[in-house]
């Protein structure tokens, strides 16, 4: 790490209290083609003193919703070219192909639509009243008390595998009315700041705008984290994914400083024997499953990697062949070509190719999709458009392969969800969805087993 006065190559923009941080020294990060530089941090400016309320603590939620909706409109048109600028830079740091990033950026505004913002407030908090003031509750002995969802002080360690994570974090942070420090990941150094800068153009100096900072430091850097991750400055650490991130964050958790963890997750699909009733049904199932498997080229936690098929080896083979074809199709959030299969996985798959008929493999290592049929789930982690298809005698057998790490289970056909959902939930699963609907979690529902907005607030009583 070296300090330079001016930089060449990829330069990260920092937003501090809503303003672009300009001037001052830059620090070089990364290596080789992932090298980039970011402004040196002024730690004092990254906190909001507890001696005064945060800028947006008393802004009515209706005003915040309006601001977010306007921000969404501005993101849609991108008149200032802020998203275009971020996108150009993203291509250099994100493992996702440019076309996928382009399509993801084109729909960032969707997170800012009024009905979805309302749904979050209504379903997660039970309405805006408790956000804007004190909600009266009658206690069992008849006494009246009041509760308020009080604005929190949050530091967010966000994930960079899908640009929507940044949008979701800004929306949630704004709706809480609290103060928010976003730590940028090295695989998405630009989306959050582009959104915050867009918001600042919509309403310069607005209290919500001043409630946000977004900066980069290397994850785990103790010179930054041991200073900031303290209850004197923040109430909660909102950490996304990555085992190292979560384990690293744990050491700072203590009285007054809580961890809200969007844990790393993995997802599966289960396909009932109904898929084999007709050619149309099989095509429909394979296409829906391919959509779920390729979400952000399989970089997202909702992306299905293991698919359990109710039928014989021959049935599974018919399905697998069709699935392989559909994996190579470009979709809204995936490209026809994905990353080449890494050497480590190639080794494992090469061995399986030699073990027919117990195992069968469709597809090559070119990133256009590869399917492995095996008697049990493979030991390795299918990644980069690889799906492992496992035939089972009954869908209930597939439930044993769901666990605490399983986030989403796509089911075909819809009618089979009811018979499976309790058992899947019991195993640890958080979402049971119609096959093909794994991507794009609807606002207002739970996420990773909890209601985020409710969990982010500080619930205060007047008894």
């Amino acid at each position: 790490m070296t300090t330079t006065t001016r930089t060449s190559g990829t330069t990260v923009v920092h937003v501090v209290h809503g303003d672009v941080a300009e001037g001052g020294p830059y620090i070089d990060h990364g290596r080789g083609d992932t090298a980039f530089s970011a402004p040196a941090l002024d730690l004092n400016r990254l906190v909001w003193p507890r001696t005064e309320p945060g800028p947006a603590f008393n802004v009515p939620s209706a005003e915040i919703v309006d601001l977010l909706v306007e921000t969404g409109e501005a993101l849609k048109t991108d008149r200032q070219g802020l998203l275009a600028e971020a996108l150009a830079a993203m291509v250099r740091v994100s493992p996702l192909p440019a076309e996928v990033l382009e399509r993801a950026y084109a729909v960032l505004w969707r997170s800012f639509q009024r009905p979805s913002l309302r749904a979050q407030i209504d379903h997660e908090l039970g309405g805006p009243d408790v956000l804007d003031g004190w909600r009266e509750v009658r206690l069992p002995e008849g006494r009246l008390a009041s509760v308020r969802a009080f604005p929190p002080r949050l530091v967010h360690v966000i994930a960079g595998n899908a640009p929507g994570v940044a949008a979701m974090s800004v929306v949630r942070g704004a709706l809480t009315k609290g103060v928010n420090l976003l730590k940028l990941p090295s695989n998405d150094l630009f989306t959050a700041t582009a959104i915050l800068r867009t918001m600042a153009k919509v309403a310069p100096g607005h209290p919500v705008v001043r409630s946000f900072s977004a900066v980069y430091w290397r994850g785990g850097d103790t010179t930054v984290e041991s200073v900031l991750f303290r209850p004197q400055f923040f109430d909660k650490l909102v950490a996304w994914g990555g085992e190292a991130t979560i384990r690293g964050a744990l050491q700072y958790v203590g009285p007054g400083f809580e961890l809200v963890s969007f844990d790393p997750k993995t997802s599966i699909s289960v396909i009932g024997r109904e898929a084999f009733a007709t050619e149309e049904a099989l095509t429909e199932a394979a296409d829906a499953a391919a959509a779920d498997a390729t979400f952000f080229n399989q970089q997202a936690c909702v992306a299905s990697r293991f698919q359990f098929v109710e039928g014989s080896d021959e049935d599974a083979d018919r399905y697998a062949a069709l699935l392989r074809e559909r994996l190579g199709v470009a979709r809204e959030f995936s490209s026809a070509d994905g990353p080449r299969v890494p050497a480590e996985l190639r080794e494992e798959i090469d061995v399986l190719r030699s073990m027919e008929p117990d195992y069968r493999v469709w597809g090559a290592y070119d990133g256009r999709g590869l399917v492995i049929r095996s008697p049990e789930p493979v030991d390795f982690h299918p990644d980069g458009k690889i799906v492992n298809v496992i035939p089972v005698a009954a869908l209930s057998d597939a439930v044993t392969h769901a666990g605490v790490a399983t986030q989403t289970v796509g089911v075909y056909p819809d009618a089979r969800k009811t018979e499976l959902r309790d058992a899947l939930a019991c195993a640890g699963v958080q979402r049971v969805v119609s096959l093909g609907r794994a991507g794009g979690m609807p606002p207002g529902l739970s996420h990773d087993g909890f209601y985020p907005l409710q969990r982010l607030m500080r619930w205060v009583n007047d008894e």
């Binding site: 595998n161 994914g241 990555g242 970089q299 050497a343 494992e348 090469d350 399986l352 044993t400 790490a405």
Partner: protein
């Protein structure tokens, strides 16, 4: 007519193993590579698949070998469920895809566990050497009779090269290892003791054989935890058993330390992995045994990665200081390669003639071998001597190799001393919310 591979294997007893003129050796190696490729392609399906897929049909230059290299993963690519479910036939089928073993050679009747399975392959004239990683899943690397004889030849002729040790059984020996087991280091320690130590004065860390199932116990338990079938009691017992074993080994080590301290004026043989050696010298120092005070005819064997156990950065210097003045085998190698790259007077590790070093870029795709001079990259190789399996492998090590003649006067190539694992060189700062189930079970076993 002697084949090129035999010719190369015969160099081990020639007295000038490491003095072969570079150009002639390269041609001989290429001939041997062709022979090895032709022979193994016939018998090893994984190599055949790889050759077909990459379109490599003949070896015209070292670069042709690159797409044919395996990695550690190839030798542990079996599903663990085959072991937990006792599918020994399927596990054997897997083994026949990565080695020259054939299903019909091995009698699986009545096999009860992974140790039985390993023993049956041994009974069929093969030695499945295992190596363990931090995950607990072990690799099975097949050797046949030819390979085992060759290993013994290396030990008899090249121990302590460039100043080979006369094969006389004159030492009191301490082998920091179990009595037996399918590990090349254990066989190597035993082999050295047979040649250089007095049999009645050979001390072992334990008289128990090494059990593969015990070595794999963490992987097997992890699998059951992932399946949700492991009970809290089982996890607790596993941890307690690990602790008990550590304590027993600690007690055994203490006895050995006392014995060494008492006999330090005699010629000794001390063999152990680096982490054991380090614990040993610390204990000896605490007993007041000063650095450099062992008998000069003492032979010390060490090596091995430290498998995630933290050793201080300067442990090599500390070992060198303590063992000052005694004979040490100093080498760079791995179970996947027959013999090792042995250190010359200048401290550089000379690649033995049966090994074609292939220095690759970090992804392991492009050959960087120069005609002359030093190149840094990933260490890969084809060991043409191997008969029980294909000897082409990509390692996880970042090395610098000098292809010019060495300061010691011998021709190159030689590996320079600063060897690092790519895995230890640090990752990036990418965060994703996608995970493997491993995140949820890891740490519960190993803290």
């Amino acid at each position: 007519m002697t084949s090129a591979r035999e010719h190369i294997r015969n160099l081990v007893a020639s007295g000038d193993t490491f003095d072969q003129p570079a150009k002639e050796l390269r041609e001989l190696q290429l001939d041997a590579a062709r022979e090895a490729f032709a022979a193994h392609r016939e018998r090893i399906p994984l190599l055949r698949t790889r050759a077909e897929e990459t379109g490599v049909h003949e070896i015209t230059a070292p670069a042709d070998l690159v797409p044919l290299l395996f990695s550690h993963t190839s030798y542990k690519s079996y599903p663990v469920s085959l072991i937990t479910a006792g599918r020994w036939d399927r596990l054997l089928r897997w083994y026949t895809t990565v080695s020259v073993v054939e299903s019909g050679d091995v009698d699986l009747d009545g096999v009860a566990d992974i140790d039985d399975w390993t023993d049956r392959i041994t009974a069929a004239g093969h030695r499945p050497y295992i190596t363990s990683g931090t995950s607990g899943k072990v690799s099975f690397l097949n050797c046949d009779g030819t390979d085992l004889r060759f290993l013994h030849d290396i030990l008899e002729n090249l121990t302590c090269w460039p100043d080979p040790l006369p094969p006389k059984p004159t030492r009191r020996a301490y082998l920091l290892a179990p009595a037996s087991g399918p590990m090349r280091s254990i066989d190597g320690f035993r082999g050295h003791a047979d040649v250089f130590a007095r049999p009645e004065e050979t001390h072992l860390l334990t008289d128990e054989p090494l059990r593969v199932s015990e070595l794999m116990s963490s992987a097997l338990l992890r699998r059951r935890m992932a399946e949700g079938t492991a009970t809290p009691q089982e996890i607790g017992s596993f941890e307690a058993a690990s602790e008990t074993r550590e304590q027993q080994l600690g007690a055994a080590l203490t006895q050995i330390v006392d014995d060494i301290a008492a006999h330090r004026d005699e010629p000794l043989l001390i063999a152990g992995m680096n982490n054991q050696q380090f614990a040993l010298i610390q204990a000896l120092r605490e007993r007041g045994v000063p650095d450099g005070s062992l008998h000069p005819d003492t032979l010390v064997l060490s090596g091995g990665g430290n498998k995630g156990r933290a050793l201080p950065d300067d442990y090599q210097q500390q070992l060198a200081a303590f063992y000052l003045g005694v004979r040490r085998v100093r080498s760079y190698g791995m179970t996947e390669l027959q013999g090792s790259c042995l250190a010359c007077e200048s401290g550089r590790y000379h690649v033995p003639p049966w090994v074609i070093p292939l220095i690759l870029d970090e992804p392991g795709e492009t050959l960087l071998n120069p005609e002359h001079g030093v190149v840094e990259g990933r260490f890969a190789f084809l060991d043409v001597s191997l008969s029980g399996r294909w000897g082409g492998l990509i390692s996880g090590d970042r090395v610098s190799v000098d292809f010019s003649p060495c300061d010691c006067g011998r021709p190159g190539p030689a590996v320079l001393p600063d060897i690092r694992r790519y895995g230890d060189l640090g990752g990036d700062d990418k965060i994703t919310c996608a995970a493997t189930l491993d995140s949820y079970v890891r740490g519960m076993i190993h803290g």
